[in-house]
């Protein structure tokens, strides 16, 4: 039995795994202690739960638990890492580098630093969505203090060459931050090998609860930061605020499950994604956005030319998907990520992001393929652009009456 709408938006958020929800419950009711309470058993058991979860999070990325700092999510982790490192090293230099395809939590933080006197470089990406390493090397300056590159792009799912970037940054003594919100449970992350100084994590993209995340802060060599949240000195002074034991336990359990099951799960999810791709590719004038090889297994981002994205989403309302990212789909702007790939506007407007996950079934994928075939046919019958293309008109040669 299919349940509607079919959820294919796992990169926006994931349901909390029932095992995670079960693990969280006691920490809301019976074991409600403050992990910072040192004078009684309520505090001690909460503190133990927090430290166990810290080990579970560290284990997924092969880090030392002492390198994990709890935050409210990847947005806060990105803010703490980028502002914190820039402020700490501002005496050394003012130049910071990132990509045009980063999440808004990174881009907007960079903009804020620019308002405080930092100079930022926003690098273009290649047509496949990947960083151009030569352009990156050329952008480095003697006063570059921070580089921030996401592990996995949230819209097109491409995996950036983090190891290679890390080598260059380390050699030049530049702090390297990686937003890994979309990477956990999808790609192997080994922080004992990667030369990354700071890495942001989110629980809710990996079947954990919303409202909790973490920042990895390397100890050897030590990454330095200025705190952004001041108060009781929690998390070694890097992030004050009472720890949300139940959320932390949830994130720990979610990351434990991810570590133990990711190999099997990714194989299963990849088969479903490839089935979806195969089923949609025989629709005419369909373009996959982003490199297919360096890509997480659960993402498929496709442009259906001559069909507008919002009307397509409306047509396929039985399927919950995104046009662009969830953060931009409320606006009328086409996806800035697809634009950065050099996609023209009508293709950027016509893109759908399908992200498959733990609870997606083959039946759901087949239903989606069938629905897309029907609805794209219908919308193209309605589309003057499609009509013109059928008549052999080159749309780029048309003088549009822009409004």
């Amino acid at each position: 039995m299919l349940k509607f709408p079919i959820y294919l938006d796992y990169s926006a958020t994931t349901p909390v795994d029932p095992r995670v929800a079960q693990a969280m419950i006691p920490w809301l009711t019976e074991q409600f202690g403050n992990p910072a309470s040192r004078s009684h058993a309520y505090g001690w058991e909460a503190e133990k739960a927090v430290e166990d979860a810290r080990e579970q999070v560290a284990a997924l990325v092969n880090a030392d638990p002492k390198e994990i700092v709890w935050t409210s999510g990847a947005t806060e982790s990105n803010n703490l890492a980028i502002k914190g490192a820039a402020q700490f090293y501002k005496g050394k230099g003012k130049h910071i580098i990132t990509l045009k395809t980063e999440h808004k939590a990174v881009l907007d933080t960079f903009r804020e630093l620019e308002r405080h006197g930092f100079e930022a470089t926003y690098l273009d990406v290649q047509e496949d969505g990947l960083i151009n390493m030569e352009a990156f090397r050329n952008a480095l300056r003697p006063d570059t203090i921070l580089v921030s590159v996401m592990f996995v792009n949230n819209e097109i799912g491409v995996i950036q060459p983090i190891a290679e970037i890390g080598e260059i940054c380390r050699e030049k003594g530049i702090t390297f931050h990686v937003d890994a919100a979309q990477a956990t449970g999808k790609v192997d992350i080994d922080l004992s090998q990667l030369k990354v100084d700071l890495m942001s994590f989110s629980a809710h993209k990996t079947y954990g609860p919303k409202g909790i995340g973490a920042l990895y802060v390397r100890r050897k060599p030590r990454a330095r930061l200025e705190a952004q949240m001041h108060g009781g000195g929690h998390e070694r002074g890097l992030r004050s605020g009472t720890l949300a034991t139940h959320q932390i336990v949830g994130m720990g359990e979610a990351f434990r499950i991810a570590r133990e099951e990711m190999k099997i799960e990714n194989d299963r999810v990849r088969k479903l994604r490839d089935r979806l791709l195969k089923g949609l590719q025989d629709i005419e004038a369909t373009y996959v956005n982003g490199d297919m090889e360096h890509r997480v297994p659960h993402n498929l981002n496709i442009s259906f030319a001559y069909v507008e994205g919002e009307s397509l989403i409306m047509a396929i309302k039985d399927v919950a998907v995104s046009s662009g990212s969830a953060c931009t789909s409320a606006s009328l702007e086409p996806s800035y990520v697809l634009r950065a790939l050099g996609r023209n506007d009508e293709l950027a407007h016509s893109s759908i992001r399908f992200t498959i996950g733990r609870f997606t079934t083959e039946e759901e994928v087949d239903y989606t393929i069938d629905l897309l075939h029907k609805k794209i046919g219908k919308l193209r019958e309605l589309s003057p652009l499609w009509e013109m293309v059928q008549e052999g008109v080159d749309l780029d040669s048309v003088q549009w009456a822009a409004h």
């Binding site: 001559y306 069909v307 507008e308 994205g309 919002e310 009307s311 409306m314 409320a330 009328l332 086409p334 023209n344 506007d345 009508e346 407007h349 019958e381 309605l382 589309s383 003057p384 652009l385 499609w386 009509e387 749309l395 549009w400 009456a401 822009a402 409004h403």
Partner: protein, 127 residues
């Protein structure tokens, strides 16, 4: 985004989809918008010898509100003279379809499409 029932109705069952031969003397064609803006409307009117619009057809690339706005105006212009058709205002379209503020541009585009179609018809009939 929640759409009004009228938008959904026009979107699910668009009226008067299609087109007429552009060259026909009684046909006026208006094409407005741009792919870069996310909507393009093509509105065609077929005008009788008496100056009354006998039929109208559209094709629209755009969001649900753009499709509904253009579908609605094909219904509204029928039976009107070209001069009367020019009196249709975007605010009437927006009100009829209960468009939210972010979708007002769809109704403006539909009004522009009527003007463009009428202008094209008149251009054919200057001499």
């Amino acid at each position: 985004m929640a759409y009004s029932e009228k938008v959904l109705d026009h979107y699910e069952n668009p009226r008067n989809v299609g087109g007429f031969a552009k060259e026909d003397e009684g046909v006026g064609t208006g094409m407005v918008g741009a792919p870069a803006c996310g909507d393009v409307m093509k509105l065609q009117i077929k005008v009788g010898k008496d100056g009354v619009i006998e039929d109208a057809k559209f094709k629209t690339y755009g969001c649900g509100s753009a499709i509904a706005s253009s579908s609605l105006v094909t219904e509204w212009v029928k039976g009107k003279t070209v001069e009367q058709a020019l009196e249709i205002k975007n605010t009437q379209i927006a009100e009829e379809l209960a468009l939210p503020p972010v979708k007002i541009h769809c109704s403006i585009l539909a009004e522009d499409a009527i003007k463009a179609a009428v202008a094209d018809y008149k251009k054919k009939h200057v001499a």
